[in-house]
Symmetry: C2
Subunit: 188 residues, 2 copies
């Protein structure tokens, strides 16, 4: 097992929710309320969109300099805008090789990265990321299958069915990643 980076509280950690917000702001400027409504009405990343979720996240992002506020003439509301730092942090995150956790604990983070993939315009890094992703998926599927083979006999019927479905889901995701690869070819 490779050593995992362990750090207690090195200042700040940008969460998946934070990156979701950054990704939204990468395409447009929004008020906090508008962002809330997007999360509430469209099941974005499965976060709640309640004020207690969104506003603290916005405050976190602003403190880190990843987003800023902009007054809008006439209106007395403020728009949140992504900063250059924020944009580059987002791009870096999108193209960072998937972690073990991103593969094993739900694929939300990965879906999000791909949803925002157009923001990362470096074709080379992009295809490197996609290759790493499909390899990681393949490997994990092998692990799941190996375990299933060894343990299925002692599982109840429901357990087997659930496990099989887990494997099938990952296979579907792998097929999808290959489709994404085809949709973002490296320029020759």
């Amino acid at each position: 097992m490779p050593s995992v980076k362990k750090q207690k509280h090195s200042g700040y950690k940008v969460t998946v929710l934070d990156y979701s917000i950054l990704g939204l702001l990468a395409g447009n400027s929004f008020t906090g309320y508008q962002i809330r409504m997007i999360f509430e009405k469209t099941a974005m990343g499965s976060f709640s969109g309640s004020p207690g979720t969104i506003y603290p996240a916005l405050a976190r992002l602003e403190k880190q300099g990843l987003i800023g506020k902009k007054d809008v003439a006439g209106k007395n509301t403020e728009l949140f805008v992504i900063t250059r730092t924020g944009m580059s942090a987002l791009r870096t995150w999108i193209l960072t090789s998937p972690t073990r956790d991103e593969i094993t604990k739900g694929l939300d983070a990965l879906s999000l990265k791909i949803a925002f993939l157009d923001l990362a315009d470096d074709g080379k890094k992009r295809s490197r990321f996609l290759i790493a992703l499909s390899e990681a998926l393949q490997q994990y599927i092998s692990e799941l299958e190996a375990y299933y083979k060894s343990a299925a006999a002692n599982m109840p019927k429901g357990g087997r069915l659930a496990y099989e479905h887990g494997i099938e889901s990952y296979k579907l995701t792998l097929k999808w990643v290959r489709k994404v690869q085809a949709a973002y070819p490296t320029k020759p």
Copy 2:
């Protein structure tokens, strides 16, 4: 939208992690350490298996009377065993109609319910649960498709691909639930 039960802290809430542990103990008795290892080595429900996760959960469950401790002769370890109350709480949970959250925010809880489905031996309730589940999935898929139709035009390519994959995943799950239904027929 139907009203959602809102309660702040009515004593205790049994979490998905708690039910995972209950489900394990429904089939066997384990020491805390053994349970930890199961979570660590088999990605059960994607929880961590570290002591800080498992032991507090075991303490919670014991305080609620859902599990108990049993000395084992000779050895100086203690085994955790599920109580009658715990067993019935688990059965009730397994057969409770899926909530909106269980459908929208990851399908982990639902997979778990099906993994433990054999413990709920009431065939009638079981098929009622599975019917409710497939209907809820169908409905959610329709919602996703309707939204996609209206919003796809304004999405970047990656966004479309990610959203499509979300829908496909739910469709796969629905197909799976139908398979489960076939595997647990109501006795005529």
